[in-house]
């Protein structure tokens, strides 16, 4: 039986660290809103255009906003030595990495999801369209964080790896963006919605293993 103590401590550490840094959800949420708000300035303010592309603009902003905090997700643990201690635990490091990523998503991913109806209203997307879509945005955001977490773990030992993380994670965002954008049209029970759920589950299964291998490399 896996000893849950390191998992609990990793979870609590991720939560407290996020608030101690003074940023928490504030920075990614501001970036998310800022990216979405820039769109009317470039695309024009015609209501029918905005309400048509609004849901997809939110997908794009969500993908971009996930890059804001990914750089720090494992780097701080590497610098303060927490990663070295975790690598020595009997608990698999991939489970610890999964816990960290879920905590990270709770802090800086879920608030973005809660913001989507508000931003949707600003982009003149009716709330009855964005409220059901929140589940899709939530699943998509989680998938972004999982694949982004793999990229972040791979570049944990690289100083200023932010752009590299974005480049590495980009190909893995494609399916989620496509399934996600299509799921908004057909709902979660149509094929694209089911595929979105499937790709999230796939990421939940595969990404922790890759993160674990990458973190072992970072601690060497």
């Amino acid at each position: 039986m896996t000893n849950p103590a390191p998992l609990i401590s990793a979870f609590r550490q991720a939560l407290s660290e996020a608030w101690a840094n003074g940023a928490g959800a504030f920075l990614p949420a501001s970036f998310f809103a800022g990216a979405a708000i820039l769109v009317p300035f470039t695309m024009g303010a015609e209501i029918e255009v905005l309400s048509r592309i609004g849901p997809d603009v939110l997908w794009l902003s969500l993908a971009l906003a996930s890059f804001v905090t990914l750089e720090r997700i494992f780097q701080a643990d590497l610098q303060d030595g927490a990663l070295d201690l975790w690598a020595q635990e009997a608990t698999p490091i991939s489970l610890i990495a999964l816990t960290k990523t879920l905590a990270h998503w709770l802090i800086s991913g879920l608030p973005l999801d809660l913001l989507t109806p508000v931003l949707g209203l600003m982009l003149t997307v009716p709330a009855e369209k964005t409220l059901p879509a929140m589940i899709a945005y939530g699943l998509g955001g989680l998938t972004f964080f999982l694949w982004g977490g793999v990229a972040a773990a791979l570049s944990a030992s690289i100083a200023r790896g932010g752009l590299l993380i974005a480049l590495l994670a980009l190909p893995f965002y494609f399916p989620t963006l496509i399934f996600g954008a299509l799921a908004l049209q057909g709902g979660l029970t149509a094929t694209p919605g089911l595929l979105l759920i499937a790709s999230t589950l796939f990421a939940l299964g595969v990404a922790p293993l890759a993160m674990g291998a990458a973190l072992r490399l970072a601690t060497d």
Partner: protein
Amino acid sequence: MWSILANPHRFMGFSKPAIPALASIGVVLFAYSLWQGLFVVPTDEVQGGHIFRALFIHVPSAWLCMGLYVGLAVASFVWFIWRHELADVAARAIAPVGTAYTALCLATGSVWGKPTWGTWWLWDDPRMMSVLVLFFLFIGYMALRTAMETRQKAARAGAILAMIGLINIPIIRVSVDIWSSIHQGPSVIRAEGPAMDWIYLQPLLIGFLGQGLIIAAIIMILMRAEVFGQQADALMARRLAGK
């Protein structure tokens, strides 16, 4: 059985005569397919007249860039599991060749697409999207390797990335297939030519084989350069140590 190939000395001995042999056979086959493709085979009006002769570069490059990514992932897997140094040397040599071939595939596809489909770039075509994603995977792989401090770390990080890239390719493929089945290009005439005649297929396959042999030779040259570089480093380290 495969570990025979893992011995660098045996590789150096085997590749030295193999490179000129593969390269010369490859050049002859490639030249034959180009001569056939450019001057001998009749034009295909359905595929846009003379521009269809891009086929003899474009289609082999599409097959080869996918094959090269699989090769990269397999070499990464072998290195990750058995730590055969030569597998990493191979992965490192495959990456730039694969990137170049992916770019060649996209470029020749665009040149061919403009007169036949009426556009340089077609977002609805799942094959184009898949190759584009492949291009980013190759670029990311090389960027990650250059960013790592040591060779060993670069090899490990690159191997992890190449392997998760490979298992994601089917999902990416499904997603772009679904996407393009919903978005249909309205104004684009899709040229659906007849099934390929032997007169086209024969130079195409010969050209594919020729380019494959040339690529194998290039990769071996890059691998040899890498092995020589490592030997030079070792010599230098020994000299600096005063032995």
